[in-house]
């Protein structure tokens, strides 16, 4: 299969384009997704290819976007809805929690809620308030959703394709900090990266580093740095946060007995706690050291230059790795 060098955001646009070409029941809706191609250009070229019937610039209302997407799905259409920033999904939460998540259950399978809700998430681009949120845990906690976070262009295309084809509501969170951070080979044509499967980004035997999204890069960087000190880290990119690939996480931990969980979301109630509990339940007797959590602080997201201190970086991850090794 031929491949081209794409950024993550270009891979998102390509996945949408390819699925809309393949399946005419797929439509795209959101604020500024059409004529402008999206505020991050994540839907560039889609309007030109498929026109105003299937690519709809909606009124400015997250409630309306989510509510309409739920209705579209019930009608037999497969909507891809964009919320411009994750912080604005808050306005859509009632629609998502009270309806999208329970439509299949309450209709006994009559109306599966096949929809993807895409939102750029996470910090690191010096944007205003509510533009840097990473509240993935709330969607993982609420039953009924699948929650996906790509960290590479290849996965962004494959995971989004799988998300569009999945019959359940999928929350697809795009790490905007790395939208354009790097290019890699992305195969032309459609392919699926299966939901629910983590990826091992670096094999190692001493410490397991669990992370996702934009944090994958500083985590890998830290792994390389400590490798020079003789510490061999395994880096596991979860890719799908719900359902979580428990097997891969537990197997990695059984091998290393030590773990650091890295996420940019706040610490308390965050998924690092859930992952720690999982490892305790499934592999306590393999554990060699307390599990470290490297996360955002429990604060409303600090803005602009203060972001530097909120987002975990390689330095913090390295310190945590050394802490779990020294025990």
């Amino acid at each position: 299969m031929a491949a081209e060098k794409l950024t993550l955001v270009e891979a998102v646009a390509e996945a949408i384009h390819d699925e809309m070409a393949e399946d005419e029941s797929v439509v795209l809706l959101g604020e500024d997704v059409g004529r402008s191609g999206g505020v991050f250009r994540a839907t560039e070229g889609v309007y030109e290819a498929f026109g105003p019937e299937r690519v709809i610039d909606t009124p400015l209302s997250e409630t309306g976007i989510a509510g309409a997407a739920i209705g579209l799905s019930a009608s037999g259409i497969k909507p891809i809805a964009e919320i411009q920033f994750m912080g604005f999904t808050y306005a859509a939460l009632e629609q998502l929690f009270t309806r999208a998540a329970r439509m299949n259950a309450r209709s006994r399978g009559q109306f599966p809620c096949q929809m993807v809700l895409r939102a750029p998430f996470g910090g690191g681009v010096r944007a205003p308030d509510l533009h840097g949120e990473s509240m993935e845990a709330i969607f993982v906690h609420h039953p009924g959703f699948k929650v996906v976070v790509p960290s590479t262009p290849h996965d962004a295309k494959g995971l989004l394709t799988a998300a569009i084809r999945d019959p359940d509501p999928v929350i697809f969170l795009e790490p905007k900090k790395i939208y354009r951070a790097f290019r890699e080979d992305v195969p032309e044509g459609s392919y699926e990266t299966p939901l629910g499967e983590a990826a091992i980004r670096r094999d190692g035997t001493d410490v397991s580093l669990f992370t996702w999204g934009a944090m994958t890069r500083p985590t890998l960087e830290a792994a390389e740095t400590v490798a020079e000190e003789g510490i061999d880290c395994e880096v596991v990119d979860l890719r799908t946060l719900s359902p979580m690939d428990k097997q891969t996480l537990v197997e990695s931990f059984k091998k290393t007995g030590r773990a650091v969980v890295v996420h940019e979301a706040p610490k308390t109630g965050g998924l690092a706690g859930e992952i720690t509990a999982l490892l305790q339940e499934e592999a306590l007797y393999y554990q060699e050291a307390p599990i470290e959590r490297v996360t955002g602080w429990d604060v409303v997201y600090p803005l602009y230059e203060l972001e530097d201190f909120q987002l975990p970086n390689a330095t913090r991850v390295e310190e945590a790795i050394r802490d779990v090794i020294e025990v």
């Binding site: 709809i56 309409a68 209705g71 579209l72 599966p112 009924g144 019959p167």
Partner: protein, 370 residues
């Protein structure tokens, strides 16, 4: 302050509270004698079902029940205006609307016993009229943009169908109401929005819900027509909704406000001790069924012995349906906790199901039932 249709110059009415009627308007209706009788049957059945549900709730058989007394004409008249392939998304006290579209009473009651609904049809195309609906809404008002989306999708698939969505005066205060009507206006969707203005949202009166004189006036804010109708006049409600459905079918959404009054409590959990008895009495004199009986008798369509027979049959039917529903619901098994949470379930669903089964096996179901 409680409102009455006669206070408005533009509130549509055919049959007045005393049963007198506009004969010319009646002649102009596209309803034959059987259809006129059917509207009566639906309203009587709704009232009988409501009474049965309330009794069963008091006896501890139902967990919860919503009341609809006084709203029967609004519910039946709007539903009657739909074609067989049209959609109707309701708020949860609209028993008469479902009855009018042919939904079995058992099916209505089972929602209250099991919390979910079932469809017989495998596909949308195979759905009977009453099956053309989304499951019940509990989060008030959220059905409004969902119906816009539903009809947008049907339109994209070139189906000539209209969607009717009901919302109360309380639900009309939510942002969802605005989002739904605004989307429909901008996208030219075939949707009829009906505000059942029953003047109370639990204990909150209409003047605490809106400072506007009518909800119908809101239409202009979305670029389409709004109509105010006497919601206790089943014929006027039917006629105005039918006009709205026709407008919607031609691509222009429509808003209808039925001005009515909830005479019963909000629900079986509501003490209903917050409003003047005089208001309730004033609206009792405007009862939708009483005036329609006078109309039917005057037109020679039904007489007093018919009314008695229809009411007795409706009560029997409600009683029988409740017995059937209770029997069906009794078979709920712990497995249902996990059924259909997902269409494509992740492994953890089965893992947790097995965990619960293990517990039930070790301790017996009795250890969990309460």
């Amino acid at each position: 302050m409680v409102r009455f249709p006669e206070e408005y110059d533009d509130c549509e009415q055919i049959v007045a509270p005393d049963g007198s009627y506009d004969a010319e308007a009646v002649e102009a209706l596209d309803l034959d004698a059987d259809e006129l009788r059917e509207l009566y049957g639906s309203m009587i059945q709704a009232r009988a079902l409501e009474e049965r549900g309330l009794t069963l709730q008091r006896q501890g058989e139902f967990h919860f029940w919503m009341e609809c007394r006084g709203l029967e004409a609004s519910h039946v008249g709007t539903a009657a205006a739909l074609g067989d392939r049209d959609w109707m998304n309701t708020e949860w006290r609209q028993y008469g609307a479902h009855i009018q579209r042919g939904r079995p009473l058992e099916d209505i009651l089972l929602f209250w016993l099991r919390g979910y609904e079932e469809w017989e049809a495998e596909t949308i195309e195979a759905m009977k009229p009453y099956e053309r609906r989304l499951p019940h809404i509990v989060a008030v008002g959220t059905q409004v943009p969902q119906t816009a989306g539903l009809m947008w999708g049907r339109k994209l698939q070139s189906h000539d169908e209209v969607g009717l969505v009901g919302v109360g005066d309380g639900g009309s205060s939510k942002g969802d109401f605005h989002a739904g009507l605004n989307f429909a206006g901008v996208l030219e969707l075939p949707v009829v929005f009906v505000v059942f203005n029953n003047q109370w949202a639990i204990s909150t009166p209409i003047e605490r819900q809106t400072a506007a004189e009518t909800y119908a006036d809101r239409g202009i804010g979305y670029g389409f027509e709004g109509t105010l109708v006497d919601g206790n006049d089943v014929l006027a409600t039917y006629r105005e909704t039918k006009r709205a459905v026709e407008r919607a079918r031609s691509g222009e959404p429509a808003l209808v406000e039925t001005l009515t009054y909830r005479r019963g409590a909000h629900s079986s959990s509501d003490a209903d001790d917050y409003r003047p008895e005089a208001d309730r009495e004033a609206w009792r004199k405007r009862d939708p069924i009483d005036r329609y009986e006078t109309f039917l008798a005057d037109r020679g369509l039904l007489d007093s012995s018919d009314f008695e027979a229809i009411e007795a049959a409706a009560k029997d039917r409600a009683k029988e349906a409740a017995e059937n529903a209770l029997e069906i619901a009794e078979t709920q098994s712990p497995s249902e906790v996990f059924d259909e949470v997902f269409s494509n379930p992740p492994a953890y669903i089965d893992e947790q199901r097995e965990e619960l089964f293990g517990l039930v096996e070790r301790h017996g179901e009795g250890a969990f039932r309460w």
